[in-house]
């Protein structure tokens, strides 16, 4: 099982288990991930724009309270958007800080008050968090008030509630200044502010300065701080910290929409550093947000029952979308495009480019493609055979990071083969029609079927970008080719060639249907 998924339970093991609730509240109830482009329903519930639109497409009610809901009722929630982004950005460092403080306090309290210590023989309970602490079998059972205060947390977890407790004055300070030398001389009582890097008497720092500093910083009024101390102690990253940073790269698939749209949302996916980028001001982003800056019109819903196939194709072609496939394919393609389009241009603060939308659509189609045939001739099997690169490319494709170039490189041999084979069948067909004197020349046949062929040529050009509509056809081509690769063939123009290849594919697809 993958361990790279963030969950609100991550906080249950820290010193503020109640943060788990905040974590849960900022998640969408449909995808269970953090809200992406949140929208508000009239019944007061918030979901990701994409999630709720996809759901409304099927049934027009709110997933939480089942009251009636239509797409036009949805309103963007810019504030929640910024809150969530801000939070997800902070989350890794928050987690790390809270865990580290705990570790530190384990040590401090060991010295200060041994009456609170209980020896626990089960090291598993700490989930490896305390690996950095030498005595990882020792746990502190939180003082009485603490364990009552947080009933939701597991009992065994230590909660040195330093925030309330004078005894552990290291609360805030120790969060940041683990490496700071000032801590070592408590008589001096000077501590470095983690935000502005100035030194203050500990008491001042604790009582008022930190608050002021944090406030100022959140308003973007403070200069960037230099390398924070937290980073230096990277080696103490606990296992769950790594988990978080992995997962952020993992989320990119689903959030690719946003990670491209706004630089701010690409947050911690760039580096495992727990430090949020300093130059993003969520506040100013929120203040300048406005829904009036839309450049693109909303895409209308399709009344597909009344539309003919040709009309459907026309609609898709007008949007610059591929118009190959069955009626159901076309309808699905349109409605998904409509969802991502409207989500992007109506709800998002920083919409992404149309070409990115199309790429998203392509990868969506690829991941929703039906499992084709179990025979060994499917293109999937063909490519999996001994091709290490295939798996990687495919996963990249699903992750919306598909590289056309490397795909072409990887399969250049196969593609050449296909062209060879196509050439051959073309000349064969020509010969046959000549010898049989059927009168119907292959090229006139082709002309008669012009619209279809044009469409299928499109399919071929898309072979590299979407999963093949008809994998078996190509696989067959490839296999035949292996048998007869030694025969001669006449040179034909590229144009004729591709036409022939497409013909071959139509034939095969018809057989399949």
């Amino acid at each position: 099982m993958e361990r790279s998924i963030t969950d609100s339970t991550d906080f249950l093991k820290t010193r503020i288990p109640h943060l788990a609730q905040l974590d849960t509240l900022l998640r969408c109830h449909i995808c269970k991930d953090f809200l992406k482009i949140p929208v508000l329903t009239p019944c007061g519930h918030t979901f990701c724009s994409l999630c709720i639109r996809e759901y409304i497409n099927n049934s027009a009610k709110c997933p939480l309270c089942l009251t009636e809901l239509r797409e036009s009722m949805l309103r963007s929630e810019f504030l929640v958007n910024e809150i969530t982004e801000c939070y997800t950005n902070l989350r890794p460092s928050l987690l790390e800080c809270l865990q580290k403080v705990k570790e530190k306090n384990v040590v401090t309290e060991l010295v200060n008050d041994s009456s609170l210590i209980e020896i626990d023989s089960d090291p598993d309970i700490e989930m490896g968090e305390s690996q950095t602490v030498s005595n990882d079998d020792i746990q502190i059972v939180g003082s009485h008030e603490a364990s009552n205060k947080f009933p939701s947390s597991p009992k065994k977890i230590s909660k040195p509630n330093g925030a309330v407790n004078k005894k552990s004055r290291s609360t805030v300070e120790s969060m940041f200044s683990k490496t700071s030398k000032t801590v070592k001389s408590p008589t001096q009582q000077l501590a470095q502010c983690p935000i502005c890097q100035e030194f203050f008497p500990l008491r001042v720092l604790e009582r008022s300065h930190l608050d002021e500093c944090l406030n100022l910083q959140s308003l973007g009024k403070l200069p960037k701080r230099s390398k924070p101390t937290i980073i230096k102690s990277k080696s103490t990253l606990s296992s769950s910290m790594k988990k978080v940073s992995n997962s952020t790269t993992d989320t990119r698939f689903q959030s690719s929409n946003r990670s491209k749209s706004s630089s701010s949302s690409s947050h911690s996916s760039n580096s495992p550093s727990p430090q949020p980028k300093d130059d993003i001001s969520y506040v100013s982003k929120y203040l300048s947000s406005s829904s009036n800056t839309q450049k693109e019109e909303r895409l209308p819903k399709l009344d597909h029952t009344t539309l003919s196939m040709t009309q459907l194709r026309q609609k898709l072609a007008n949007l610059g979308l591929p118009s190959a496939g069955s009626r159901k394919n076309l309808i699905d393609r349109y409605s998904h495009y409509e969802i991502i389009w409207n989500s992007n241009f109506c709800d998002s603060l920083s919409p992404i480019d149309v070409s990115d939308l199309k790429r998203q659509l392509a990868s969506w189609e690829a991941s929703h493609a039906p499992i084709t045939g179990t025979g060994r001739n499917t293109i999937g099997d063909l490519m999996k055979r001994g091709d290490k690169g295939y798996q990687k490319l495919m996963s990249n494709f699903r992750n919306d990071k598909f590289e056309r170039r490397s795909w072409i490189e990887l399969y250049s041999k196969e593609f050449k083969k296909l062209i060879k084979e196509a050439k051959k069948t073309y000349t064969k067909a020509n010969k046959r029609s000549d010898s049989n004197n059927e009168g119907v020349d292959i090229s006139t046949k082709a002309n008669g079927r012009e619209p279809e062929i044009l469409r299928d040529e499109k399919v071929i050009t898309e072979v590299t970008s979407t999963q093949l509509d008809n994998p078996t056809a190509v696989a067959e081509l490839d296999i035949k080719c292996e048998d007869e690769s030694n025969t001669e063939h006449h040179a034909t123009s590229d144009d004729e060639l591709s036409r022939d290849l497409s013909q071959h594919m139509t034939k095969n697809s018809k057989q399949d249907n």
Partner: protein
């Protein structure tokens, strides 16, 4: 095969690490969308002490579509038919993506605790239940003994 959505991975992790009392759900090795489920009969119901096996499948459109759940163990219940199909609103019209595997299984456990013969799936059982509730409950107990207890 479409890649497994994050949500499913999350739910599975949760189900394994923090199981619901009286319910187990384990994904199948070959297909992570297929779960083998057991539900203990709720105390005080005719199904007490029984351990019922179910199968649960998450369709491709999950969570937009409800999971498909079926009893594998024979059970005498007005809302569960001979094939193990379950008549439960959250599995049909009242499904919402805000629900999850956990809540669905809890609803099924609740259905065992309070059968609803007025909205039947197995008509004969429901009739029996309305006419002679004690007798029907006895039969349910008998069936639980027969099919749902470990030998």
């Amino acid at each position: 095969m479409a890649s497994l959505p994050k949500r499913i991975i999350k739910e599975t992790e949760r189900l394994v690490s923090d199981p619901v009392p009286g319910i187990t759900a384990e994904p199948h090795d070959d297909n992570l969308r297929y779960f083998e489920v057991t539900i203990e009969g709720p105390a005080g119901s005719p199904y007490e002490n029984g351990i019922f096996q179910l199968e649960l499948y998450l369709p491709d459109d999950y969570p937009m579509e409800a999971p498909k759940v079926r009893f594998l163990t024979k059970i005498y219940h007005p809302n569960i038919d001979r094939l193990g199909r379950i008549c439960l609103d959250v599995l049909k019209t009242n499904w919402s993506p805000a629900l999850q595997i956990r809540t669905v299984l809890l609803s099924i456990q609740a259905l065992l605790a309070s059968p609803n013969p007025n909205d039947p799936l197995a008509n004969d059982v429901a009739e029996d239940w309305i006419k002679n509730e004690e007798g029907a409950k006895n039969k349910a107990r008998e069936w639980t003994q027969l099919y749902a207890t470990k030998k």
